[in-house]
Amino acid sequence: MQECDKFRVHFSSYIEGELLSEERQALEAHLAVCTDCSEAIYQIKIIRRSLQSLPPITTSSHFERQLQDRIAQLNNTSPWMGPLLNLKHNWKIPAIGSAVASIVILGVLLLSPPQPNTAQSGNTEFRTSIRQSVAAPTGIPGATTAPAKALTSPTETQLDSTKNNATVPRTAGRPVQLVGD
C-alpha cells in the first residue's frame, strides 16, 4: 500500500500525459500488477470526463438589466451620501445625534434673552411688537395686558397712532410710520 501511495501522487500527471518517460514506465509497471491503482486511474478518467461534460448553464434573461440598474444606483450615489446611507444599518448614530441636537436647541431657547423681533416690513407680528414697545413705556392702561390688535392695513395703523397721540409723545408715532417703509 505504501508503494501505491508513492505512485498515486503521479496519477494526474499520468492521465494528462505530462509524466516523464522514466516515471511513466515505472507507474505502468505498477499498474500492471496493482488492480486498485489501475481501477482508480480508470475511475478518475471517467470522473474527469464527467466534469468536462457538465451541461453549461446561462445567466437569466434579466441579468444584464439588473446589473445595469445596480451600476446606475452606484453612480447616483454621491460620494458623501455613502456614509449617510450606511447609517441605516446603525440606528444608534442618528438617534444619539438627534437627541444631542434637540438638547442644544432647547438649551439655546431657554437660556437666550428675548430678542426684539426683526421681521420684515409688512409683517403683522412686527407691527404688533412695535405697538407693544411703543405703548409699554408710556404706561397706557391695558397696553401690556390687552392683546395687541393685529394690524392689517396702513390705514388702521395710522388710525391707531392718531388715537394714541393724546398720551403718547410725538416720537412714539414714528416707528409706526416705518411700518409702511
Binding site: 496519477f11 482508480a40 470522473i47 466534469l51 446561462t58 445567466t59 439588473q66
Partner: protein, 208 residues
C-alpha cells in the same frame, strides 16, 4: 484563457484592450466584457456554491467590483485571471458565511449528513449511457470537496484553465496547484468509487 468554454470565433478586441478602454471611460467596453464573461463565470460559481440564485448574485457582484475597481487592474495579469480571482474569492466568502450559519443552526447540525446521500448499494450505478456520471451525482460530489480542492478542480477540469493560469488566479505556487488537482481528483474518486463497484457487480451478474 485556454478554457474549453472559450469562444472559438476570432476576437478582434482582446479583454485587456477592452478593460483599458473601460478605464478611459468607455462604458461599451465594459458591456462587452460582461457579455463575454457572464456565462462562464456563472458556470464556475454555480459549481462552487451549488445554488443558482446565489451564483448569479455573486457574478453580478463580481462585475460590480470590476466596475468600481477598474483602475486597480494592471496589464501585468490577464483580465480573465483577474476576474476569476474576484469571483473565486466571493464564492469562497459565500461558503464561509454558510459554514458559520450552519454552525449556529441546530436543525442543520442535526441533519448534517443529509446533504449528500449515497445511493443504495443495491441500486444500479448512476451512470449515463456514455459511461459518464450523472450531473447531479457529480455536482454533489464537487460540493462535498473541501474548498481548496474544489476551486482547482473546477478551474482545471470544468473551466479548462492551464496550471499556470490557476496558479495566477489563486496566487499559489504551480507545484501546489498540481498537487491539489491530484488530491482533489483522488478525493472525488474515493467518494464516487461505489458507483463503479456497482458497475462491476452488474457486469458480473449479467455474465451469470
Amino acid at each position: 484563457m485556454t478554457g474549453k468554454k472559450k469562444d472559438n470565433k476570432p476576437q478582434k478586441v482582446t479583454d485587456e484592450e477592452l478593460i483599458a478602454r473601460f478605464q478611459q471611460g468607455d462604458q461599451q467596453a465594459f458591456d462587452i466584457l460582461v457579455h463575454r464573461y457572464k456565462d462562464q463565470l456563472l458556470n464556475f460559481v454555480y459549481r462552487f456554491v451549488g445554488n443558482r440564485n446565489d451564483a448569479e448574485d455573486i457574478v453580478q457582484e463580481t462585475f460590480l467590483r470590476v466596475y468600481k475597481n477598474k483602475h486597480y487592474y494592471k496589464e501585468i495579469a490577464k483580465f480573465s485571471t483577474w476576474i476569476y480571482t474576484i469571483a473565486g474569492n466571493l464564492a469562497k466568502t459565500e461558503l464561509r458565511k454558510r459554514k458559520r450559519r450552519k454552525l449556529f443552526s441546530v436543525s442543520n447540525f442535526m441533519n448534517e449528513e443529509k446533504d449528500y446521500e449515497i445511493p443504495d448499494e443495491d441500486k444500479n450505478p448512476e451512470l449515463e449511457v456514455d459511461g459518464t456520471i450523472k450531473d447531479d451525482i457529480i455536482q454533489k460530489a464537487i460540493e462535498k470537496l473541501p474548498p481548496k480542492f474544489k476551486e482547482v478542480i473546477l478551474l482545471r477540469d470544468v473551466q479548462g484553465f492551464s496550471y499556470e493560469e490557476i496558479s495566477q488566479i489563486l496566487n499559489i505556487p504551480l507545484g501546489t496547484v498540481k498537487s491539489r488537482v491530484n488530491r482533489g481528483r483522488l478525493k472525488l474518486q474515493e467518494d464516487l468509487k461505489f458507483l463503479f463497484e456497482n458497475e462491476e457487480k452488474s457486469k458480473e451478474e449479467s455474465k451469470i
